[in-house]
Amino acid sequence: MSKPKEKTKESISIAITGSGGAGVMTAGTLLLEVAAQAGWYGLMVRSSGPQIRGGEAAALMRFSKSPVECLDDRFDVLIGIDWQNIHRFADEIPLDATSVMIGDPDQSEPPEVFVKRGAHYAPLPFKQMAKSLPGSWPNMIALGVAAGLAGLPVDSIKAVLQKSLKKGGGEKMAANIAAAEAGYAFAEGVPSVPRLSGKLAAGKEARWLITGNQAAGYGAVRGGVRFCAAYPITPATEVLEWLAPALPKIGGALVQAEDELASINMIVGSSYGGVPSVTATAGPGLSLMTEAIGLAVAAEVPIVVIDVMRGGPSTGIPAKSEQSDVNIAVNGLHGDAPRIVVAPNSIADCVSATQWAVYLAEAMQSPAIVLSDQYFGQTRAVVDPPADIGLVTERLKPAAGENGYLRYAITKSGISPMAIPGNPGTAYTADGLEHNERGLPSSQSGDHIKQLDKRAKKLDQFDYGARWADIEGEGDLAVVTFGSCTGAAREALARAAADGIKGRLVSLRLLAPSRPAQMAKALAGAKRVLVVEQNHTGQLYRYLRAEYDLPGTTRSFRHPGPLPMRPDEIHQQITEWSRS
C-alpha cells in the first residue's frame, strides 16, 4: 500500500459496525450530518448481512474538506458497538497498524482478523456507559467517539442531535447529547487520528445530503418524468419510494405493479399516452423487462429504466454492489435493438445523468437504461447541488389532423413525429411487430431494413454533445472506466500524477450507442489504455474492444463486487504498467 498516511490527511475514513438493534446506520447518518454541519464533505456506504432484522451492519464513511467520491483504501477508525459477526466485513474494512479500533470489552474482544492487522485497540464499555445515562443509546456514544476522533467540533454534534431528536422529546435528547459528549470526551484519550488538511469550501449552506437512489429519482422528475410503475427490488426500491410521494406533488403518479413485467409494460403504455415515464429495478428485474424494452425500441416509445446494479448472476448478492449488468444493458435484447445506455459517474451525477437519460429517451423516442449501482444508490453523501443540465425535454409531435400521417416515417434524423392519443386525425397503432412507415405490420424485407436503419440512425446521428464522457488530464496512459469506479480511478490518477506519472481519465457516461469518433479524439496519442471496472469478466473491456479501435495496447483491470474498486489498486496498476 503506498504512503497511506500522507494521502489520508486529505480524508478520514471511519467504519461503525454492530449487529441489529445497535443503530449503526443511524449513527453513521448522523455523523455524516455532523460533518456536513461542520462544512465537510463525506459519504456513507452501507453494508449489511442478509438478515432483514438483527443482522450485522457496517456504515463505511469517508470525510474530507473537498467532495468525496469513493471510499479510501483503508480505515482510520473502526468502531464496534458490538462484534457479532463483524469479522464478515474484514475485507470491506481494511485496517493497518496506524488504525484505531474501539470496542466494548464487556461483550467480547475484537475479532481476530482485525487484531492481526495491528490496529490500536481502545476498549469502551458502550452498554455500561449508556446505562449510566438513562434514556441514552450506545450508538450515540459511538457517534461522539467517531466525531471526536475525526476532529469534528462538539457543537456540530449538538446542533444535529437537537434537530434529529426533536420528535423524541426533551429528556431523550438531553440523555443522548450527553452520551455523544461522553463518547467525544473518550476520544480525547485515544491515540490521535490525522487531522483533515485543506480549507473549508465556501457555500456549504447550498449543499445537499442525498443518496444516489434519491438523486436518480430526482433526476427523472427534473427531466420531466410524471409517471412511474414500480415493483420493489433491492437495491433500487429507494428510487421508487422517493418517487411515490414526490410525483403526486408535481402532478404525476406512481403505481405499484404486480411484477416487473407489469411495471415495464405499464410505463410503455403511459409513455405511449404522452407522459414521460420511468421505472427502477435491479438485475433480476431488468432480465424480466428485456422483452418489453425491445417493444419500446420497435414501437419507438420513450421510457427510462433505472438499473441499480447488484451482485449477479441470478439473485446474486442483492444488497451489495457490482457493475455486472453492462452486457445485458448494451446487448440484452433480442433482435437488432439499438437502445440508449447512460451511466452516472458520481452520486450527484445520478441526478444529471438520469435527467439526461429522460431527455435523450424523449428526444429520440427510445428506451434509455440508466446504469447506477448499489454503491451509488444506497450511499448517502454530502454533495454540491448538480446544476440543471439545461436541455429541455421534448417529444416531436405531429400537428392535429396532419394529412396522411405516417407514424414511422423515414426522416433525415430517423426521428418521426409521435402522435399522442387524443390528437385528432393521427391515430395509429404502435406495434412491436415490424411495420411499414404507417405502422401497419409488415414482414417484407424492404420495410424491415428501412425501419432497422431508422431506429439505428436516430440514435447514431444524435448530437450528444460533450456529456457522452468526462475526459480529464493528459498523457500516454488512459484509464477508461464508468460509473462508481470513476471516483477511485480519478483519485488513482491524482496519486500517479503526484508520483510524476501523467495519465488521462475517460469516464463514459454514454455506454450505448458507442461514439467511435469522439473516443478516437479522447484517446488520441494514448499508448496504453487501462479499462477499469467492477465485474468478473471485463464486460466493459469486451464491449470497448468490440465497438472501438482502442489505440496502443489495452489492459483490463477488474474484480467483481461486492468489494468496491479502491484508488490504491488502480494506482498500483498504473504505476506497474508505466514502469514496464
Binding site: E33, K204, E205, A206, R207, W208, I210, Y218, V221, R222, R226, F227, A229, A246, L247, P248, K249, I250, G251, A253, L254, V255, A257, E258, D259, L261, A262, I264, N265, M266, I267, V268, G269, S270, S271, Y272, G273, G274, V275, S277, A292, G294, L295, A299, V382, P385, A419, P421, G422, P424, G425, T426, A427, Y428, T429, A430, D431, G432, L440, P441
Partner: protein
Amino acid sequence: MSSPAAAAPITAQAFKSDYKPIWCPGCGDYSVLSSFTKAFAKLQLLPQDVAVVSGIGCSSRIPAYTTCYGFHGVHGRSLAAAAGLKLARPDLTVVVASGDGDGYSIGGNHFLHACRRNVDLTYVVMDNHVYGMTKGQPSPTTEPDWDSKLSPGGTGLRTFNPLVIALAAGANFVARAFAGDPNGTADLIAEAISTPGFSFVEILSPCITFRPEQREWKQMVRPAAVTYTNDAARAARRIMTDDGMNIGVLYKGERKPYQPPIGKGKKNPSDLETEFAL
C-alpha cells in the same frame, strides 16, 4: 327511433380502418371487430379518444383494424400496458383485446391483478379454446382431452374458468358474449365501457380452422335466464353451475375505480430540492 332531422351520428363504419384483417375467413373475430366499432358508435365516442390495446395472438390484431389509437404490445402484457395508459391518461377510453392464450395463460397474473386493481378498463377476451397463431395448441380453456401435436391425447388439465376467477379477484363487471351475436356483443361492450372500474367481457369466438366444431356454438348459446346480480358469490355460483353458454351481463358491482390523481399536484420539481438541502 331518432328523428330523421338529427345530424348524422358517428357510425360504426367510422371506426373501421382501411387495413384488412388477416383472420381466416369464417373466424369469429371479424364479428367481434364489428362489435367493437358498433359499441364505440353506440356510445358516440370519437376515434381519437379511444385506445385499443392488445398483446399477441389472433385477437390481438384488432387495434390496427380500427381507426382508434392502437397499441399492439408483447404477449400477455396488454393489461399492464393498458393500465399504464389509463392511469396516465384518465381522459381516454381504454379497451383491451386479448385471447385465451394471451390473457389466461401467459397473461394470467396480470389478469388477477387487473381485476384487483379495478382500473377503469374494458377487457375483452376472444376465447376460442385454442392457440391459433401458433397452429393449434391447447390453451387454458381447452378441454382436457383435446388432442394436438403439442399435447397428444390432450393436456389432461381441467379448464380455467375466467369469469369466476375475475369475480374472485375483484372485477367490477363480468359478462359473457358470443361472437355470432355482434349486436348483442356490441351492447355488452358498450355497457362494459360505461361501467366504471375493471369490466371483463369474455366472448366465445369460434376458430373455424383449428376448432371447426365450434361452428355449433351458435346453436348452443342462449341468453342468461336471469338478470345480473351485484352479489359476487351468487354470480360465481351461477357461473360455476352453468354450461358456459349463458350470454349476457352476469355480474355488476359498485367498486370505485382505482385512479391516483394525476395532473393535480402543482409544485415544480425544484420545490422538491428542499428535502436534500442541508
